[in-house]
Amino acid sequence: MCTVCGCSDTVTADGRVISHDEAHRLGLPHSHAPAFQPAPLPFPHVQAGHDHHHYGQGAAGVSVPGLTQARLIEVETSILAKNDALAQGNRRVLDALGVLALNLVSSPGSGKTTLLCKTIEALGDAPLAVIEGDQQTSADADRIRATGARAIQINTGKGCHLDAQMVGAAIDDLRPRPQSFLFIENVGNLVCPAGFDLGEDAKVAILSVTEGEDKPLKYPDMFTASRLAILTKTDLAPHCDVDLELYEANLRRVNPGIEILRLSTRTGDGMAAWLDWLRARLAEKA
């Protein structure tokens, strides 16, 4: 399937049948297979030389004689209404199973996957599953599977965030066990994932101490949307001239209600408090 627009494998362009990815790469005008239907929220993209439409031709754009009189239609619908409805569907499924779903959000390189691997080890026999979101590669899911946990990798292609439709499909495949943990590792990005509800119980923001105390102020939406912030790599703090109190003050400035934990996966400091937090949240789902 084409990673740009999600349609089928081959297309006719310039009189030749070639792969769809190739048509995009070459910027050739091409048509789509008739069977192609747009996904509810297709991956966003824009590309030079892209002079075709990605969706069914339908009745669009044709003016109909006799129907020229303008009228006003009240819509009052949220632009993300479809995503929100799918997220609510995911939430109903997860609630019915008593699954605690956490959406882990951060910039790239904050240590989400490392924290997750250590967490899985520490949780021992507790049932859990992991959904990994990245633009490319299955490297993170491979790391998770190496711990023995079940994991599904979602590659978003050009997409900058996971959406509820992607996560719903992954939940269907993973079939999480009742009273289990579901960790959703979002695409490393401090902007877009804040706006997309996946049906999770809470967003957990991971912020490593090497990123700078100003990050909560620069990217307030993500930290406002999160219930818990974990300051990671605290073992590096003495080497980076960082002020952990200032990190916390800035987090509370954008979200006065946020819970904060300090943690180092390297030394294990703070792991116990994190595991307690996880178990307490899971118990609330029973």
């Binding site: 929220l41 239609i73 959406d163």
Partner: protein
Amino acid sequence: MHEMSLAEGIRSIVQDQAAKHGFSRVTVLRLEIGRFAGVEKPALDFAFDVVMRGSPAEGARLEMIDLAGQALCFDCMKTVEIADRLAPCPLCGGGKLIPNGGDEMRIKDMEVA
């Protein structure tokens, strides 16, 4: 933030509405965008033009109505209007505010033919 995704969402709603109300062309589409919605308006304008091609809203005029940002001040416990995300409380000068309004992004209405 992800204006192409938002434009895809708009397109999908336009198509649903076209099927429901039986119109073929949208001439004006009005959005309400809260100050804290995180929408970059010029980027959405651009994405709108690109994404609406081949839909009933191709060539439609996009109008964006700004909605004020609202926040709850944790110091005086009042809901206040603030112009930017990190502004202090206009009533008590407090600095701990959490947005409780102004994250809207919705289609208000459209003129159709």
